[in-house]
């Protein structure tokens, strides 16, 4: 048996050698090597991630109508959780549900890690159209929270720079206001879910619509220095227990 295997390997090896030799003779050496690497290149996670790009932008930046969120550079565990949430019906967006369903955890994790590893500059957003009072209220909520409504500060979990925290808390900057508004509204209305206890659902339900607008208005005006990324760990003490933070 072993003998058969080694012979098969030898034959395969010889065939491969002959193929390369013939190709080299025909194409004078260098192009044969190029063709070989080209066909290997197809079998990559980057090639597999291409279908995400028309919406999530080149290498995972927010794309064409500004709604679809930036996914490049977000913590891998966060992106993985979202793919699983779409697959298992905790988040609802028909196209994402359809793309993620029937895929196994290991593959979704690989795609999440690929996008998490992309580091790209954030786009800046003009603050001129948002009223100063809204921005002031937004800043207050983001940095201090609202004790009377039992709403913690965003920065308490999403980091002082609001760029998220490893392994699973997403950054809040560099995504469009319409996307942020839609997510908070979906949590408030029970259309988006995370692993229980779903702290973001609890927080969104406690927030008045005007406060949601204030927070998202302030967030989209923030400039982000190049090369900045998530904090290495979630700040402590955490204000709430969250199922998605291990």
């Amino acid at each position: 048996m072993l003998d058969l295997w080694s012979r098969a390997r030898t034959i395969r090896g010889m065939k491969r050698f002959l193929r390369i030799l013939v190709a080299a003779l025909v194409a004078q050496g260098s192009t044969a090597h190029a063709a070989d690497t080209e066909s290997t290149k197809l079998d990559t996670v980057a090639q597999r991630a291409l279908p995400c790009l028309p919406c999530h932008g080149k290498e995972g930046r927010a794309g064409p109508d500004g709604y679809y969120p930036r996914i490049a550079g977000k913590p891998a565990e966060y992106l993985f959780n979202q793919l699983v949430n779409f697959r298992d019906g905790r988040r609802f967006f028909p196209m994402m549900n359809y793309l993620a369903e029937r895929q196994q955890d290991a593959y979704l994790r690989e795609l999440a890690e690929y996008f998490a590893s992309q580091q790209l500059p954030f786009d800046s957003v003009s603050a001129s159209e948002i009223p100063a009072a809204t921005l002031a209220r937004g800043l207050e909520l983001v940095k201090e929270g609202d004790r009377s409504a039992d709403v913690p500060a965003c920065s308490a979990c999403h980091g002082t720079k609001l760029l998220g925290a490893l392994p699973s808390v997403p950054g809040l900057l560099g995504v469009s206001r319409s996307y942020l508004d839609a997510q908070l509204a979906a949590w408030k209305n029970g259309l988006r879910h995370a692993k229980p206890p779903d702290c973001m659902a609890t927080i969104a339900k406690r927030m008045a619509p005007a406060d949601i607008e204030a927070v998202t208005g302030w967030l989209v005006t923030q400039l982000v220095p190049d090369g900045a990324g998530p904090e290495p760990s979630v700040p402590t003490p955490q204000p709430m227990q969250c199922g998605s933070i291990p």
Binding site: L50, P51, G63, R102
Partner: protein, 432 residues
């Protein structure tokens, strides 16, 4: 007015007479052909394999919900059905059912108390299942944990919400009867026929239905419109027929959901509901059973559906303009993976030249694939499939119609042009 009442009375009499005359006989037992694989002696393991092959879980489980607890919506032209809870819960599930009750549901189409079942539950297929196999399925379902999930009422249009009318439907369209082996064929063929006609219920999607939802395969071999997709005909090699495929390639297609390099240049892909069938059911099936299914599918006569005059939806004078728009869109959006001349690219993307899904009379699947993209099912043998982006968010319906018109009319493809209206008609419904 008087005439109308008389007419309704006559119709009612005819329907009742039909129900009485053709009321299907009950059967309490029946045996099919033996398994082609290694005999599975443990009824629970055998039942689990059959329940998997029937993809019972697919309909009876809502996305992310508890297995077999029901709740998944099944949209049909008659309204929306909600699959019931079939766990062992005694209030909402089938915890109080006996093996005879289960047999009656599968074989005779009614639940305890002689409650008539809607044929969305494909008892018209399951009636072919042998009593031994039905009992094994029941034994496996007995091991499924009880879930206290209430059932949702079906939301059906009148008159389909009148359950008693099913008596008439059964009289006209249903004959119970276990699969009877055909001695003209060998054991593998018979095993394949038993599975395809019975537990795997392929005809539930792949055959067209009449206005009352009954499969009408005898006089019309075209595929079926189901769950917002078109399930192509298995009796037509220009659609999903596999008459000229090798058995090995058919088994690969059923197990992995795609064949990119089949013998004779065949390629096949599953998407929408069929991708689910591969993922949930067929990838786990016994190799010998898949081979038996392949033997049976290969034996189907190759019948083209009655030639239909395809109503052009795009004025012939407009087609050249649409084609050139489509050509540009193709170069910008599709050529990177599918090749400049639709030749496909290795393992990443199928060739479009000569593609059956693109050339079928029904353009529904081609339109839905461009609208929603999707990945092949992530099966055990293809755990990291390649995918296609949804173009719904980035191209307009005019652009999608143009690019499809170009692809359907290039590189030897000769299918009709697509109008933006046809694209828009497919912007609803579950993606599955």
């Amino acid at each position: 007015m008087k005439l109308r009442i008389t007419w309704l009375l006559v119709l009612a009499c005819v329907l009742i007479a039909a129900a009485v005359l053709f009321w299907p006989q009950d059967h309490q037992t029946g045996e099919g052909p033996p398994s082609s694989g290694a005999p599975q002696t443990d009824p629970v393991a055998r039942g689990r394999d059959l329940v998997t092959l029937g993809n019972c879980e697919g309909c009876h489980t809502v996305r992310g919900g508890q297995r077999f607890a029901g709740g998944r919506s099944i949209p049909t032209p008659f309204g929306t059905f909600f699959a019931p809870n079939i766990t062992q819960n005694t209030r909402y599930g089938i915890g109080r059912w006996s093996a005879d009750d289960f047999w009656s549901a599968l074989h005779n189409g009614y639940a305890p108390g002689r409650k008539l079942l809607y044929p969305t539950f494909p008892y018209t297929n399951f009636t072919r299942i042998s009593r031994t196999d039905a009992d094994a399925m029941f034994a496996y379902l007995k091991t499924v944990p009880a879930v206290a999930a209430a059932n949702r009422e079906h939301q059906l249009k009148f008159p389909f919400n009148q359950r008693w009318l099913l008596a008439v439907w059964r009289g006209l369209f249903f004959t119970p009867g276990v699969y009877e082996p055909d001695t003209q064929h060998d054991a593998a063929w018979n095993r394949g026929a038993y599975l395809v006609q019975g537990v795997a219920h392929c005809s539930a999607c792949h055959e067209s239905r009449n206005a009352l939802g009954a499969v009408k395969s005898k006089d019309n071999p075209s595929g079926g419109l189901v769950l917002s997709w078109y399930a192509p005909s298995l009796s037509n090699s220009a659609e999903a027929g596999v008459q000229t495929w090798s058995e090995t390639d058919i088994v690969r297609l059923l197990r992995t959901g795609l064949v990119t390099d089949g013998a004779g240049g065949h390629q096949g892909f599953t998407f929408g509901p069929m991708a689910e069938v591969v993922y949930e059911s067929l990838q786990h099936a016994d190799e010998a059973d898949l081979r038996a299914i392949a033997v049976y599918l290969k034996s189907f006569p190759d019948i083209a559906p009655p030639s239909r005059q395809i109503r052009p939806t795009v004025a012939p004078s407009d087609v050249p303009v649409v084609m050139s728009l489509g050509q540009q869109l193709y170069a910008d959006n599709c050529a990177r993976c599918h090749g400049e001349r639709g030749e496909g690219r290795s393992i990443v993307a199928p060739s479009l030249a000569g593609s059956r899904v693109l050339s079928m009379d029904s353009s529904i699947d081609a339109i839905r694939i461009v609208l929603y993209g999707g990945y092949a099912p992530g099966t055990g043998s293809n755990p990291k499939p390649f995918g296609m982006p949804p173009f719904y968010p980035t191209l307009t319906s005019e652009q999608i119609a143009s690019v499809l018109t170009y692809i359907r009319g290039s590189w030897g493809n000769e299918a009709s042009a697509i109008s933006p209206d046809e694209v828009e008609e497919n912007m609803t419904g579950p993606l599955w």
